[in-house]
Symmetry: C2
Subunit: 358 residues, 2 copies
């Protein structure tokens, strides 16, 4: 406040020490709460720090401590510049997860170094590698990189992937897709007595989708329901994709199964819309379920029965796993978070029998 300081940013612990009349070691100790400095020493240091608006240089601390307290987070941009309607949803997911990571990180004094990757960027691994050099570890969102790419990065720093699969070198955190689908199938078959089921899939390259589809087939067989499958059921996680599946199924004159599980809520939204257009009633003629429990799910007509994934916990957990790996060289390779069946009305339950998990 008083002296004309040197060129901003050149302020070091030496300046503080000089002003406080102590050694740099004392300044460092006070700042980090190490040792047991005398009250007077502490005061003098604190006063000098305040006077100078001193903040210790993160790079120097990192170098000395071997800990940057920074975690790199990488996600995929849907496309270059503009944002489409449908994109909001996945955007929101990413944000909620990142928020979870941030909450977990803050608890340990870490900050988030964020980088997004476009669909057809090149040198992605190199770019993320550079990021890795500035962080203690990396969290990679869904569908970022090939297994080989992940392995290369995992060679440099600890890596946690989300909703993927763990590799020898990287750890993974995901939600319990199997349990979610299993609960859905059982609810539909055992409680409602539906005998025929269909599954509108998500993007073919998504591990989450593959897991869900596989769980669907396995569980349906286990409870003795018929399933309708095939290329016609291929969606892509979007409402448009879901509507398409219904259109082409109907156009081909196929009889719809009694209940249709959708890969995610967006898809269910499209399916319900397309069905309504054709005069098919939900749930009287066909029961529909989603997956995710996005905010609008409860406002659909009928309110959507779905599976809630704990997105924010997912992020927080991803950080925690990474952190334990960073600080203790140990971390669970594959972590599965529980999901929750949210029964509303699109499955055929009535608002009185449905217990909305909200």
């Amino acid at each position: 406040m008083a002296e004309p300081k040197k060129a901003k940013g050149t302020l070091t612990i030496y300046d503080v020490a000089k002003l406080a009349g102590v050694s740099i070691a004392s300044v460092s100790r006070v700042l980090n709460g190490q040792g047991t400095p005398r009250a007077e020493t502490r005061d003098r240091v604190m006063r000098a720090v305040r006077e100078l608006s001193f903040v210790p240089d993160g790079a120097a601390r990192a170098l000395s401590n071997g800990l940057k307290e920074v975690v790199g987070v990488v996600f995929r941009r849907e496309n270059g510049e503009t944002y489409l309607e449908g994109e909001d949803e996945s955007f929101l997911f990413i944000d909620v997860i990142n928020r979870g990571i941030e909450v977990g990180a803050r608890r340990r004094g870490f900050d988030l170094l964020i980088s997004s990757v476009g669909f057809n960027d090149d040198n992605v691994v190199e770019r993320i590698g550079a990021l890795a050099g500035k962080a203690d570890g990396l969290i990679l969102h869904d569908r970022m990189l090939s297994a080989a790419g992940i392995a290369r990065l995992a060679d440099m720093v600890p890596v946690v992937t989300l909703a993927g699969t763990s590799t020898p070198a990287s750890m993974n955190v995901r939600c319990d897709n199997e349990a979610g689908i299993r609960d859905l199938v059982r609810h539909l078959v055992i409680e409602h007595g539906y005998r025929s089921l269909g599954y509108v899939s998500g993007r073919a390259d998504s591990p989450d989708n593959r897991t869900r589809q596989h769980a669907f087939e396995t569980e349906a067989v286990a409870v003795g329901a018929e399933i309708d499958t095939g290329q016609a059921w291929q969606g892509n996680y979007s409402a448009a994709g879901g509507a398409n599946v219904v259109e082409s199924l109907l156009a081909a004159g196929r009889k719809l199964p009694r209940a249709i599980l959708c890969a995610n809520d967006q898809t269910a939204l499209g399916v319900i819309h397309a069905l309504a257009q054709r005069g098919v009633r939900v749930p009287q003629d066909v029961a529909i379920t989603g997956f995710d429990d996005v905010p609008v799910a409860r406002h659909l007509h009928p309110p959507l029965t779905t599976v809630r994934q704990p997105m924010q916990e997912l992020g927080a957990m991803a950080f925690e796993i990474l952190y334990s790996r960073i600080s203790a060289a140990a971390g669970k390779a594959d972590t599965v978070l529980p999901v929750e069946l949210v029964v509303r009305e699109s499955c055929g339950c009535t608002s009185s029998s449905a217990k909305d998990g909200a």
Copy 2:
């Protein structure tokens, strides 16, 4: 790929140098493209780097170079955990701006260190201060901190604020609110001949809002229109706030002005909705305009006449300003980006006369 490396992360430039059979200086030079190493030297280094999956440590580089290549970005979370419907909009703004910052940053090899702040977090300045220690500069989104808080941070690192006002120590980037409002007022008064105007304001504490309101009053007077003002016109940037204003104006039996400017598109959305409820026709009875040009603006009934702000450019510009300050100790204190009037139909233009800027 072959040797059992030392504990991951302990890999240094010395390891690379040893494997390549050169000195650390050569490794560094090759990695940074300095000097003119022989082709053979370069090859040996590159091969060793690849073999070891080496990435130079960012902290050490930063310490040595005096440049971290990291910019801190701070924004405000609307509230703790859940996300409300209306929040999406501002969320999106933040994301688009951040995306702009990222684009600008990438060009210079910088990454984004991101931190969000809750409404009633405490020690905000301390927390951001810690962030500042890990970054070369800070970009603060709208309405984060008091001027004093900003000043304290600006004492530590270069600071750019968005949509605020510059202080002696910090720089600011914003859109040209005055011009936007001026264009709107002129269009309504001069081209359409409306003689009475109203302005539904945004949050009272928003610099953007204050600027817009002031420009509205000034310009309306300048072109000789009557204006209706007062407490009744206080909105809060939300659709609900806009609807509220209309409700209470109507409930009080006040005659509406011929045209109403809204502080932002969200507000206009609420206003149009409330008006429709009461049977007031837009634009036949009352013309409405927004501000921002959010994606839905063109899909409203009638399509909304508004002002487009170059959000992504805003972010990119903020970074560029900050960067010039970091690298050359100079940066424009106050930067104003041009906006664009987007004439659609809610002002009374017809789709043929309106030239949609999309």
